[in-house]
């Protein structure tokens, strides 16, 4: 399992850079991850990220775009504005949860 160093801390990630340890995430780390993929975090972004983290913890899996829209209260149109082109991938990357599998 690859290890990378962010802000002087060792972080466990998968081949695509998604965090593999839920508890290694914090808000400062999220800012670095967001900057890596050119996302400027606003309050709207933080609301989505918080939902994704809480839902992952409760359900044991990364929420789909549909779920973030229906249960998380940010509609799909808005998600595409906040996380352009690939919202599912980008929001889980910043939130420090596994890439959504939703594609089998």
């Amino acid at each position: 399992m690859p290890v990378t160093t962010i802000n002087g801390r060792e972080i466990h990630v998968d081949d695509e850079g998604f965090l593999t340890e839920y508890d290694e995430w914090d808000e400062d780390l999220a800012k670095v991850l967001a900057a890596n993929i050119s996302v400027d975090l606003t309050d709207d972004h933080w609301a989505v990220i918080k939902f994704v983290r809480d839902d992952y913890k409760a359900q044991g899996e990364t929420p789909t775009i549909r779920r973030v829209s229906t249960a998380g209260g940010t509609d799909t149109k808005k998600l595409f504005q906040l996380f352009p082109k690939k919202p599912a991938k980008k929001m889980s990357y910043i939130a420090g949860v596994p890439k959504p599998h939703g594609c089998v």
Binding site: R66, F80, K85, H101, G102, C103, V104
Partner: protein, 415 residues
């Protein structure tokens, strides 16, 4: 007398009762199947109907024929499961008690979930082939279609038989060449995925096959709505894809009674343990086949391998023993590629499809991720196997769990 109640007499439900009836004492267990239809469709055949390769009546048989003696078949619509009182309520007011419940009601296309889809152009310039009616209507359309811009489109994953949209595209290319109008047809493949398929190695192979056939790929496309008048697909990030003929795979969802019973996820799939299919909420409810939320392909082959594992575990579960076999998400799919050829892929939760031979390492006779005529014949032969071997619950000489033998493991993963 105890009762095993199976909801759904499709591929998974039929296999379950055929496997379990001989293994459960008739003095001890009554088995009942509930289905709202009285016919059983060979759904893999839908793909061939639009091109006239199968006629619509070649894929239908009476449900009763595949339900073994000693199993009751109840015809009715399911209202909901009352898991407090261990009863299933039917729409006509009938209440059926159960000791063990197996939900096998599958998944269905929901065109109404996408604005504009099932309005004025539905079954005119907007088609689907995931229902008997839809495949038949598309067949009629293609008989006289003179060409234009054909868009093959997937609304969202997961869908039943995730390779079918690609197969449809390959067969369409072949069909239009045979009819001498390929140069008058532009084909576009529109998908919410980042590439042609979900798994990297297969996606690369299949993406290359789209290129060879001059099919344009529009990836990462999440449809927001369809404008039936302008004949255009519109995505959430405001891309537009115009069409003359749209063949779409509508959003797939599990049965509505699953949601009404509080057993489902956001798409009405029953929440179960992915290795044993036992509900995460109730110790006497299972879901098998497309109806469950396991992260495997929604396909008959998955249901088949799953039923093998389930049968073993279920018999232990009712005796109070731990379920000691774990399902691995094994899937095995023929992919029609046109011109009388086909491919085969074999994969599971953790291992993506790769090249090689199946089922015998080095020998085959089937080739993985490679177009051969034999693979195509395998697919056609499968219809006979389905009716005569799979549904009756007879054993196929294929192991339920995936094997790495015969697969060409890429170097970077070899460590």
């Amino acid at each position: 007398m105890k009762r095993l109640l199976v909801l759904g007499g499709g591929t998974a439900g039929t296999m379950v009762v055929n496997k379990l009836r001989p293994r459960l004492s008739r003095d001890e267990w009554q088995i009942t199947v509930v289905d709202q239809r009285d016919v059983h469709y060979y759904q893999p055949g839908y793909l061939f109907i639009p091109f006239g390769a199968y006629t619509p009546d070649e894929v239908v048989k009476p449900t009763q024929r595949f339900i073994p003696e000693g199993v009751d078949l109840v015809h009715g619509e399911i209202d909901r499961v009352d898991s407090e009182s261990n009863q299933v309520l039917l729409a006509d007011g009938t209440a059926l008690d159960y000791d063990q419940l197996v939900i096998a009601t599958g998944t269905t296309p929901r065109p109404a979930e996408t604005p504009g889809m099932d309005e004025g152009e539905w079954r005119k310039s907007i088609h689907e082939f995931y229902t008997h009616e839809g495949a038949t209507a598309l067949g009629e359309k293609l008989k006289t279609w003179e060409g234009g811009r054909l868009v093959v489109h997937i609304v969202d994953m997961p869908i039943k038989c995730p390779v079918a949209p690609l197969e449809f595209t390959f067969l369409a290319d072949s069909f239009f060449r045979e009819h001498g109008i390929r140069d008058q047809v532009e084909i576009v493949y529109v998908t919410p995925l980042p590439g042609a398929f979900t798994k990297p190695i297969a996606s690369q192979h299949l993406g290359g096959m789209l290129d060879e056939r001059k099919v344009e790929l529009e990836a990462d496309f999440m449809v927001e709505s369809i404008d039936p008048e302008a004949k255009t697909l519109i995505s959430y990030d405001e891309r537009e894809v115009p069409f003359d003929l749209l063949v779409t795979i509508p959003l797939n969802m599990g049965a509505d009674f699953v949601a009404r019973s509080g057993l489902g996820d956001d798409l009405n799939y029953v929440k179960v343990d992915k290795q044993t299919f036992l509900s995460t909420q109730h110790d006497n409810i299972f879901a098998i086949g497309d109806a469950s939320n396991i992260p495997a392909s929604k396909a008959g082959s998955v249901a088949h391998f799953a039923v093998d594992i389930f049968t073993h575990n279920f018999l232990r579960h009712i005796d109070g023993l731990p379920m000691d076999e774990k399902f691995d998400g094994h899937a095995n799919c023929f992919i029609e590629s046109g011109d009388g050829k086909g491919m085969l892929i074999d994969f599971n939760y953790d291992t993506e499809p790769m090249t090689g031979k199946y089922p015998l390492p080095g020998i085959g006779p089937f080739s993985l991720l490679k177009e051969t005529e034999l693979n195509h014949w395998g697919k056609l032969m499968f219809r006979w196997i389905y009716w005569n071997v799979l549904l009756p619950g007879r054993d196929l000489p294929l192991p339920a769990l995936m094997s790495m033998a015969g697969k060409d493991v890429p170097d970077e993963d070899a460590s």
